[in-house]
Subunit: 265 residues, 2 copies
């Protein structure tokens, strides 16, 4: 296993981010969005179920702080060195009387940020109010400042290497939609068609596999077509039904979406 | 489409929750965890990408506040009446100068909670620091209080109807693990095997389909076996490899996990 991009590409992203943090007048940013962490380091594992953050600034980091159990994945999905991975002890996991953010605040203080200007992502998933409250309480003399979307803006312009992977996602997306188009018929259960669709998403092509997309395949049929984003059912498709698909595919965290509508004769 | 449980079952859950909120000394709780909202009302749609909350108290709610585009799904996935679904306007979605929580705070104030004791879930996904900050700013005279896990504790003891669905999830899980066991062999790509596994998860049985599980299928093979929760790759399985599976299945949001290890001869 290895990160999907070169070390130079991640270093370039981190350099752009350091510049953005300095430009915003901050000494560091605490990044909680797993996709932003992945973009900056390559880190990839099913680890977001406990708090995890990446700390980065003009003169600090990147340092990855996560649960001890999940620190191992940094070894072969990132180029981070051992001292850039700071695991918090298992004893802090899901305890009512403490929080991993207590450890993170302590680390930030020891790293010289106790009186500094620290940005955080205020409106991302997996960075909870408890995380922020514990950081603030642990470093009461720091100046906490909303830096939401600061990483996302750096992600906006894609590199040639990113465009190549996005094109691979688009190729898989074509196979996925074709699978749905070829398989749909009156009497076929929605779950059976979507099983084939999900398989096509992950199987990819002989050259490259797919990942799980950011959105589950959506099927708008019958009364479900009266709203947005309904989840599929076990019901069979019906004759003369108009069915809208919102599908897509994903390659190395890069998603490609595609929507098409079919009418069953 | 219909909620997976009877109206009486949801009413019982809401009654238990009202009692828990009162016992905690609160006038209402703002629930942000999508799975807790689903447990209390049945609401099911891919709508958590924008803020959404359920408000419930001894003398209020349940009232579901979400994006207008996603309000329609409440009609056929819940028993909520029209006045229990309060959509916020599309203009509030992903704007830098405002937040849906401004609307939620305004609604809570008009509902008589401006000076009341309001609990919130402090450490759940999809209820962000920005959501809480905007609620606090909008209702500065309310007494905000951490009520994390209050819903989860009510969910702990399962009803007979829930146990039946959990047994269905377990049946699908058996098929899923058998699919992995039957399909693995040296030379098979991880993505091809996991495509079959994902399909088995969704296809379910002839009697009932499966949902997407809470965790993506995990394969620990080669160096990935040195850590927890690695994501699968496109690499082929190798002769003499020991491979651990962490799989599972899901039926109507009820997950059943299963871990097994195989050795390739």
């Amino acid at each position: 296993m290895a990160p999907p991009f070169s070390a130079a590409e991640y270093e370039d992203r981190q350099a752009r981010m350091r510049h953005a943090v300095a430009y915003r007048g901050l000494d560091a940013i605490v990044i909680g969005d797993p996709s932003n962490i992945n973009w900056l380091t390559g880190y990839d594992a099913w680890s977001f179920y406990t708090p995890q953050v990446l700390v980065l600034g003009p003169e600090i980091g990147p340092v990855w702080i996560c649960r001890l159990m999940d620190a191992g994945a940094a070894k072969f999905t990132t180029y981070l060195t051992a001292d850039q991975v700071v695991p918090f002890p298992e004893e802090l996991v899901q305890r009512p009387d403490t929080h991993p953010a207590v450890f993170v605040a302590d680390w930030l203080g020891k790293a010289g940020l106790a009186n500094k200007r620290i940005g955080y992502e205020s409106d991302v998933y997996y960075f909870s109010p408890a995380m922020l409250d514990n950081l603030r309480n642990g470093l009461p003399n720091a100046q906490w400042s909303d830096a939401n979307l600061l990483v996302n803006w750096q992600r906006l312009i894609k590199s040639p290497a990113e465009l190549e992977i996005m094109q691979q996602a688009a190729i898989i997306t074509g196979h996925v939609m074709q699978t749905a188009y070829d398989g749909i018929a009156p009497g076929i259960r929605q779950c059976d068609l979507m099983a084939d669709v999900a398989a096509a998403q992950i199987r990819g092509t002989p050259e490259f596999g797919g990942d799980m997309p950011a959105i589950h395949p959506l099927v708008l049929a019958g009364e479900a077509a009266s709203t947005a984003h309904p989840l599929r059912t076990d019901a069979p498709f019906e004759p003369n039904q108009t069915v809208a698909f919102e599908l897509g595919a994903c390659r190395k965290r890069y998603n490609c979406g595609l929507a098409r509508t079919v009418h069953l004769g």
